[in-house]
């Protein structure tokens, strides 16, 4: 292909970008708006055809690139994501909810019937909301950006790489790597903080150790995440008990497969401490309770 044709190729019509959300906090799509310096140049390069948080202009696809935030929590959403997939060339999940179910996925692991009956007078009411699941459980996902929230630098790198046509650099290595490159002191070794960095995927810039606390795994497991080894290490060093290790995993990527066994154990133990409906609550919400009955 002659060089001139290629130049025209590159200047081809702007890709159509959509941003949609399911059950989530909006923080990941906000990250796009948080690329303050790049936002307007990006909108010069892509056509934003769907982004309810930012624009009233609406479109129903097709999308060249669709950023999907949030987990699937209702049958309607499960239906909708299939329809969106059909209209989308490249579907990218953004954030812990979309890639791992988010913290709300913890509800998936308890004994649902008991759990709902204990909390709700009308368990049937929340029938459709029994689980929160990642997008990849429902449709094929072309790429994922991890994190709770996603990292602005990774979002930018992803968009740039997509526009340039190269493979985005989203390293699958431990948080420790970026922590040590940044010259930070290991909080496990020097302060006895339980840090999940060794089993967590990098991308955040190793923020928590920089703020003198342990990583809480909001980017989810890295490849070869050795959860059993970390547990053994923390217990052997008397940093945490086994149960406390489980609790650390019951966070924003709790239901990622590598973390789910630990997180599930913790989620079940939390339920035991619940005061289901304190009497003062009834007083505070008389009409709500009436309505429920």
């Amino acid at each position: 292909m002659p060089a001139t044709d290629r130049a025209q190729d590159r200047a081809m019509s702007r890709p159509r970008l959509g941003v949609v959300k399911f059950a989530s906090c909006d923080g990941c799509q906000l990250t796009l708006l948080d690329l303050e310096d790049e936002l307007l140049p990006i909108t010069d390069r892509v056509e934003i055809v769907e982004f309810a948080e930012a624009t009233s202009a609406r479109s129903s696809g097709p999308y060249d690139l669709l950023l999907v935030e949030g987990s699937i929590s209702t049958p309607e959403q499960a239906h909708e994501i299939v329809e969106l997939r059909r209209q989308t060339a490249k579907l990218v999940t953004i954030g812990a909810c979309a890639t791992a179910g988010g913290i709300q996925a913890l509800r998936n692991v308890a004994d649902h019937d008991a759990w709902r009956a204990a909390i709700y007078p009308e368990p049937a009411w929340i029938e459709s909301l029994a689980t929160a699941t990642p997008i990849a459980d429902h449709v094929t996902v072309d790429a994922e950006l991890r994190g709770c929230p996603i990292a602005p630098g990774q979002l930018k790198e992803f968009l740039v790489a997509s526009l340039v046509g190269r493979r985005p650099q989203l390293p699958d290595e431990a948080v420790c790597m970026e922590c040590k490159r940044a010259g930070r002191v290991c909080v496990v070794v020097a302060s006895g903080e339980a840090c999940l960095g060794p089993v967590t995927r990098t991308g955040c810039g190793a923020l928590c150790p920089a703020y003198a606390r342990g990583c809480y795994a909001c980017f989810g497991p890295r490849e070869s995440a050795n959860v059993a080894g970390l547990r053994q290490g923390f217990v052997a060093a008397s940093l945490l008990t086994e149960a406390e290790v489980d609790e650390r995993f019951a966070g924003f990527t709790a239901m990622a497969p590598a973390f789910a066994p630990s997180a599930s154990a913790a989620a079940l133990s939390y339920r035991e401490g619940a005061v289901v409906r304190p009497s003062t609550d009834k007083a505070a919400r008389p009409e709500v309770d009436d309505a429920r009955r």
Binding site: C25, D26, T43, A54, T74, Y211, E272, P286, V288
Partner: protein
């Protein structure tokens, strides 16, 4: 996903009109507005939520207080600091923790950052397009790029403040019971100085910009509720007071005066005063109730607009209130940075104990109340969180009922734009509001 449209039912205008805005845009989260008018009267005004609930009040059960701070931040990606602030002060009050005065000012600085980030986003990218007849901030950039760039620059400064204190602008990581996990070094805070000087200037320009917007006439006075503190513009402390002076309670005692209830015809829980009246929280309420405590630069800017009285009664002027608070937050942040000396310790130790922990702070959108029961290990056994949007919901619907008849003569599209603009004037955060609903969502077929 959802197309929004208004349509006239029955073919003839003005007999019965049904505005069904199936997905509200330029708000945080997924909501729906349904407004039915018959014979020039509003027969139904419903702000529906179809955001899927995420059960945060259950998710915090069994957790340590410091874990709760991380979890409640995830209720909202736009105002995570607000959730952390209400929660951390609730726990500290329950455990009898006295925080270092420097930590107190750093928390105000953190809140300033979030106010700036949230208000700059809302004013420039979400709300201003309504006044200027465009569909989005991106479309606005096509006609007034400098205005959008100014808003983005200001928003960036807000984000920088939060990121400096907490590692990242969304879901920062450093707030803990007793203080912060790490306090900044002087040289780090000094990196904000140039941006804050610019932020003060930018926010003053924004005040001039939005005060000049052509604004729909509207007189919908509501009972305004906000915190009021003895010496400072309300953020983390103060008593809950109202414009009609009938409310003056400790910020731990929200439940004595307010309640959440289910109202027929809507799926959302709404807050009212216990005597069943709607009320309004947010920037307009704060400015009206604590005007004398605004930073002098913000006070002067408000004076210059001459709109203080109108802010109280016209919801469409809330954009000016937000702009004034941008000036306040930028100016106060600049003062805190200038006077900063690191605390002796970033945090003080505490002993967890059983009891109840409640506190209200001022989120960008208004009063945010947290209420927890703690077991003997200091872990949460029950929780209730009342975000500003659920408190404003009744006020929004009341304002719609009052205002909607005035747009009856407009073509559908224009009428719909005005109605949405009014809803946006409250900066509703549906993500926040929904995440506390104990109820499931009933979808329209």
């Amino acid at each position: 996903m959802h197309g929004g449209e208004g349509h006239a039912a029955g073919g003839t205008a003005t007999v019965e009109r049904d505005f069904d805005i199936t997905q509200l845009t330029r708000v945080e989260g997924e909501g729906r507005l349904r407004l039915r008018l018959r014979e020039g009267r509003v027969v139904e005004a419903r702000l529906n939520i179809f955001e899927a609930p995420r059960y945060f009040e259950q998710l915090v059960v069994g957790r340590r207080p410091d874990d709760v701070l991380d979890i409640v931040a995830r209720i909202c990606g736009i105002c995570p600091v607000a959730y952390q602030m209400s929660a951390v002060h609730a726990f500290e009050s329950a455990f009898g923790v006295e925080i270092d005065p420097v930590v107190r000012s750093l928390r105000r600085l953190l809140y300033c950052g979030e106010w700036i980030e949230s208000h700059a986003l809302h004013v420039t990218l979400l709300h201003a397009p309504d006044y200027l007849g465009v569909e989005s901030g991106i479309a606005l950039a096509a006609i007034d790029r400098p205005a959008v760039e100014r808003g983005l620059a200001l928003k960036k400064t807000g984000n920088q403040i939060v990121a400096l204190l907490g590692g990242r602008p969304i879901h920062p990581v450093s707030v803990k019971v007793g203080g912060f996990s790490r306090a900044p070094r002087v040289v780090e805070l000094e990196t904000l100085k140039v941006a804050l000087d610019a932020a003060v200037k930018q926010s003053l320009e924004i005040v001039d910009w939005v005060a000049g917007f052509e604004t729909p006439a509207c007189h919908e006075p509501a009972r305004l509720v906000a915190l009021r503190h003895a010496s400072d513009y309300p953020m983390n402390e103060g008593r809950i007071v109202s414009t009609d002076k009938r409310i003056d309670i400790a910020n731990t005692d929200w439940s004595t005066t307010f309640e959440e209830r289910q109202v027929e015809g809507t799926n959302a829980l709404q807050s009212h005063t216990r005597d069943g009246q709607p009320y309004q929280v947010g920037p307009s309420a704060r400015i009206t109730l604590a005007r004398d405590q605004l930073h002098p630069l913000a006070g002067a800017a408000l004076e210059k607009t001459g709109l203080a009285d109108e802010i109280r009664v016209n919801p469409f002027r809330s954009i000016v209130a937000r702009a004034i608070e941008l000036v306040h937050a930028a100016a106060e942040a600049r003062d805190i940075v200038a006077g900063y000396r690191p605390p002796d310790a970033a945090s003080v130790p505490f002993d967890p104990r059983a009891g109840s922990a409640s506190w209200a702070t001022e989120a960008p959108r208004g009063l945010l109340f947290h209420d927890y029961r703690l077991d003997e290990r200091g872990r949460v056994s029950w929780a209730r969180i009342v975000p500003p949007t659920s408190q404003n919901q009744a006020a929004i619907e009341a304002a719609l009922i009052g205002y909607a008849p005035r747009v009856l003569d407009l073509p559908d599209d224009e009428a719909r734009v005005r109605i949405e603009q009014l809803v946006r004037a409250y900066d509703p955060c549906i993500s926040c509001a929904t995440h506390f609903l104990d109820v499931t969502v009933e979808r329209e077929p």
